[in-house]
Amino acid sequence: MKHVRLRSYVVVFLALILLNFALPRMMPGGPIDFIEGQDSGPTLTKEQKESILAYYALDESPVTQWVRYMKGVVTLDFGTSFQYRQDVGAVIREHLPYTLSLVGVATLISIIISIVFGLYSGYQAVHKGDRVLFGTMLVFSALPEFLVGMFLLITYSVMLPIFPMSGAATPFLENASLLNMMLDRIQHAVLPITTLILATVPSLYLLMRNETVRIMQAPFIEFAQMKGIHTRTLLRKHVFKNALLPVFTMMMLRVGLTFTGAIFVETLFSYPGIGKLLRDAIVSRDYPLMHGLFFLFTSIILMINLLTDWIYPKLDPRIRKEDPM
């Protein structure tokens, strides 16, 4: 099982690297004709054309191009961004912390909320005591990041101007003490993080709830109830781990999705993370930056998958003892 998964990760990774190489070169006439043929594409200066030509090295043989491309991938050198006129690595390093903090905080809070609510809800489901919670979550599970974010933005920045509409910090902040700067940054991050949480929690919650409902019917839960154990202990010691194990993998996959969710959230709130950077790079046809960002997103998601496969056996004593992998 594990080798099959590892193999599919390698295949995915290679396929994407290949796709990134082949797509711009497969276009009839190459990337420049493509940009000029688009009515929405930006008009190119001679200088820009040259930089694109130099970047793709289209006048060389395909083999040389491939070698040069792979060398770039292996050494993590993706070239110079057209837009920022800076090394792609440097541009990404500057924007990455914003996304990591948004997604990190949102993921942590989401997992805690969905596990607690999912456990409670699954426990109550037998008596249908969770209908309101379940219904609310069902509503939110239907809404993608940009719609949830739009509602929050309209409600809390337009109608009730509590939180700022865009950016990660106020430029030229008055009384710029360290404390004020931190408060200002937190204030800017509240809506994006809340959006990510509201978009992530429902699916995790529904997974956890379904699994809790299933575990609640297990004989050992009935036996634990027969022992007269308090409800909270029952949920914490008997239901929690047994329900978490089967959904752990799915949960981690959903965490990977939160990174793609950041593309929408950061664009909506003009938050300067790598999600907005990717969107802007695609719109302005900044190929080197795009290349670096696709590489980064793919790596992050595959890393999460790998991490999941590595942690899972450590959580389950039945696998741990029988099959040391």
């Binding site: 929405s40 509503v139 239907a142 993608p144 309209i154 007269g228 696709f294």
Partner: protein, 488 residues
Amino acid sequence: MKHKKYIVGSFILFYSVLYFSYPYAASSYQFESYLAPSRMHWLGTNSVGQDVVALLIEGTKWSLIVGFVVATASTLLSVVLGVWSGYFRKWDSLWNGLANVLLVLPNLLIILLVIAFTGGQYTMLLVLMSVLSWPAYMRIIRAQVMSLKEREFIQISRQLGNSHLYILTRHFPAHLKSLVQTKWIMTFRYAILTEAGLAFLGLGDPVKVTWGKLLHDGFSNPTIFLNGSWTWLVLPPVLLLAIVTVYISFIIEGKNVKRTKSSLRKEVHCTKEAGLRGEQITLHYGVSKPIFENVSLDVQRGEIVSITGPSGSGKTSLARAMYGILPVAYYEGHGQMDGEWTSHPKFASAHYFKTIAFMYQDARAAFNPLLPLRQQFEELGVTQDEMNEALKEVQLYETIANRYPHECSGGMLSRVLVALTFVWRPHYVICDEVTSALDPILKKEIIFLLQKKAKQLNCGVLMITHDHDVAHAISDRTLQMTKENRDD
């Protein structure tokens, strides 16, 4: 969701009336910019002077087409590939492997990569989404087909000489119908939302008006929040998207949110008699025809009483009712122990395993697989010494407590269960089919152990068993339940 047909129907009717009778076209720019809603323009105009209602009519068309086309194409792909892989097992590893690979990466990332180089033309998006969204349900359909194929009625049909085509068209559709419906609806929602998301990012087709495109156009101009025009430029497409997708979720999950009758409150007057007693218990599981009626029995300390009867006679439920663990809505009458009602909310924490214990029928199923046995003793409040003492009395080493259930044999677990049952020296014990899963030698051993323990602690035992030999060998009294709802 009874009104599903009417809701969808009236939406289609309303939309077509509007589509054919609305006076303005989405393509005309003849009006002033940012006109507020009025009788002329129901939802005003946008920054370049287009009528918003006309745009919404156009956008609804193209957004719904995305949903229909992608849902249909993707569903077809998952069904064809699922049946192909699961039934014929040809190229199974290719399709299944491809599905695995596609499932690792979020679709969105691949779509973004492709449209970054090819542009986000409408038809291109339709093809991309259809090609990327089949794997999850293809795998479910494949698994379903594989298990169906092994079922007897398919095997028999095959032996009768029916062709594969006949079997696939006659037997499979009924079994795959609900899966296919769910897949179609889910993909319909996925396609509309993905297109809207891409268009919102400004990466959709620049010339096709869709809900997402309207959002993008409204949103890319920050002045809409200053002059208040967001209420008619942004809000309508947001609400349309939200209402459609939320409605779809409720179609899919709606069946889970049905209301059921809440459990009854019950008043019980306990008599003062000693012993573990079942008083006038009628088991009906909330439906009209009872499994048995008016069963009363009692067990005094120091005696072993057996209840025998065929499976389905309700003897296990009777034991659970007397223990107070069966939901009170399932039966009439009550169980009591030394004058206390066993279903009273406070009874469990005061008496379970202290004065009355329940020995579960299957030792392997009774223990939590993810906790070491030690913890399953300790949660009762048992000390280390008490646990060791109890384990020693059933001829087990103390070290077994550190093991997980899957590391013990069935015989060990049965003995651990005996130790656990008697660790607090209860006055009454209910044993539910404790010997049914054991081999004859082990059965004898466990019965002997039980008998010894009960005598030693002057314990009242209620044995539930379908084994008459066991019942007669150790019982002081034997009660028999029959299918005719009587007890002797």
